[in-house]
Amino acid sequence: MNFEEHAAKSLVLAPAAIPVLRAILCLSAKEAAMAAAQIGPCVVKAQVPVGKRGKAGGIKLANTPKEAEQVAGQILDMRIGDYTVERLLVEQQAKIVREFYAAVLNDTTLRKPLILFSTEGGMDIEEIAAEKPKAIRRLAVDIDKAPSAKDISSMLAGLDLGAAEPQVTDILQKLHAAYRARDAELLEVNPLALLADGRVVALDCKFVLDDAAIYRQADIAVGGGASAMTDLERRGAEAGLKLIQLDGNVGVLANGAGLTMTTMDVIRHYGGKPANFLEIGGEAYTKAGIALDLVLSNPGVKSLVINFCGAFARTDVMADGVIKAWAKLRPTVPVFFSIHGTGEDEAVALVRGALGIEPYDFMEDAVQAAVRAAQ
């Protein structure tokens, strides 16, 4: 789950006592003007959970309330990536001396938290890694430990941070603690700025909450989740199903992420285009009926492949779900089945008996028939 800058700062950084500048969240140009009147010279920042906001024209300086109102008017309703700007953060201006990069994230190879720091702040970590790989310092931390000031200072050795080093050390420790306390997948401060007055503050923040930990971060999860979804994807999410709408015309309903991706691959292999990703694997195998409704609600779908290969997911339960929903939905597009694995004899008999449809023995044949039917 992604969080916008204002939410990441107020929900994660500020409670962890990581310094941020004074800022006010605004929903209109009028509000931006009022905020600027309180704060003084300010930066008006589009609140969307994507990078490169500055390059897209979503971050502008304003020295007076009138200027703030003006630039806010320009930024609101702007499209950045897949998002429309609906919120602005009006933040105090500050004189920046140096920009750093700081982050804590899951290192999936080491299977440990990893602290990253670089003196090359302001650019993407991917860019720093490509252009100045030596400028990135790394510290892997055991999951049951917190990094000591000594650990951090050896990580920072030779970077010549001068008087800022104690503050940077403190912030990195707090960032790690916040990452742990808040089940971050990524907690990134870029830039972490050294100001002319000697303070080190977080000018921006990216926080990605581990989706699997939302259940125990409910207090902050309400402030996130601003991901771009189509109406159909939102309906899927509300039903607890992962749906990704695509621009093809062959609908996909399968169990398990691997099998679903493979069904999409085989559709493409035979010259077709998948209309969606939607899987009902794991515990979701009881939701076949809702899933059928979702796939058929996609106006682009001209034919449908139902591909079940049951391991944990019982094909008889899934087939039963499809058949019960079928009576209500009365699909008008041709539907092609392939059913194997746990419960397959019962499932095949159900589909044959209730729908009068003969499942294909090979999924490739079901897919090929669906691709032909969609053309």
Binding site: P113, R216, A254, G256, T260, C309
Partner: protein, 302 residues
């Protein structure tokens, strides 16, 4: 990580709906299930298996080599750590959606106690004709049969399809190793490849991968030195970049984890990569008869 009939298996969460269903299936397939765990029902029997309060109690009373978990995500860390502390050598974590930092804690505990973790989010292990541990349809004769092809898969559903295709082509399996769909796995594709390479019962190896992460690339490094014929299918060629495709592990970001990168790495290691699951069996059959040149020819004929 190839399970054997003699391996003593303890089931954590045996009394739940899925624990009960799959334990009965495992026992029916002659898996040696010796104990179940449920702190509230210690001393009782369930589906003919004695229940203990903790893995440590079960190990003391009946001994155990393998633990398998039917435990929901919020309790998974504690359960896995208790199994590692009890000295279980092989821990199969079926649970999907365990918080990442809990997964790290599981791996740390496993490393400390010398436990090999398979998963999280794996469908488990099958040794056809012998036993299985997990949630695979080992007992469906059209899917699995004993033989000499080893199969490694991140996905249970897709692994099932691949074994089905092999069985239909008359090619039985020596072992199915489900490694799991999570981004941080205890057993990687490479680990499984090493095990099958070393297994005297395995003559050919099928790698069923997915986009995301770098496990297939790492396995390709090892594959350079493997003499057994190897075939790979990587799911996700048609997946849009930047989207999580169900498995938390299956996401392409930048150049990392892409279909093209994985396929290239595997092909450079003389692994035959195929476009569709239906092509796997023919390639394996050709490889068993005539080596890699024959496999390549078999694939390009399709």
């Amino acid at each position: 990580m190839i399970v054997r009939k003699k391996d003593r298996v303890v089931v954590l969460g045996i009394t739940g709906k899925q624990g009960t269903f799959w334990t009965e299936k495992m026992i029916g397939y002659s898996t040696n299930v010796v104990a179940g765990i449920n702190p509230k029902r210690a001393g009782e029997m369930h589906v003919g298996v004695p229940i203990f309060a903790s893995p440590a109690d079960a190990v003391r009373a009946v001994g155990a080599d393998v633990a398998v978990m039917f435990i929901p995500p919020p309790m998974a860390k504690e359960a896995a750590v208790s199994a590692a502390q009890a000295g279980i050598k092989l821990l199969i974590v079926l649970t999907e959606h365990i918080p990442a930092q809990d997964v790290m804690a599981i791996h740390a505990a496993a490393a400390k106690h010398g436990t090999r973790v398979v998963g999280p989010n794996t469908a488990g292990l099958v040794t056809p004709g012998e036993c299985f541990v997990g949630i695979m349809p080992a007992f469906v004769p059209s899917v699995f049969k004993p033989g000499r092809v080893g199969v490694i898969s991140r996905s249970g559903s897709l692994g099932t399809l691949v074994c089905l295709n092999l069985t239909r082509a008359g090619l039985g399996q020596s072992a199915f190793i489900g490694i799991g769909g999570d981004p941080m796995l205890g057993t990687t594709t490479r680990d499984a490849l090493e095990a099958l390479d070393a297994d005297a019962g395995t003559d050919a190896i099928v790698i069923v991968g997915e986009i995301g992460g770098d496990m297939e690339e790492a396995a390709a490094e090892y594959a350079k030195g493997v003499r057994k014929p190897m075939v790979a299918f990587i799911a996700g060629a048609a997946a849009p970049p930047g989207k999580k495709m169900g498995h938390a592990g299956a996401i392409v970001t930048g150049n990392t984890g892409s279909y093209a990168g994985k396929r290239k790495a595997l092909e450079a290691a003389s692994v035959i990569a195929v476009d569709a699951p239906s092509q796997i069996a023919a390639a394996v059959a050709a490889g068993l008869k005539g080596g890699r040149t024959a496999m390549q020819a078999a694939v390009s004929r399709q």
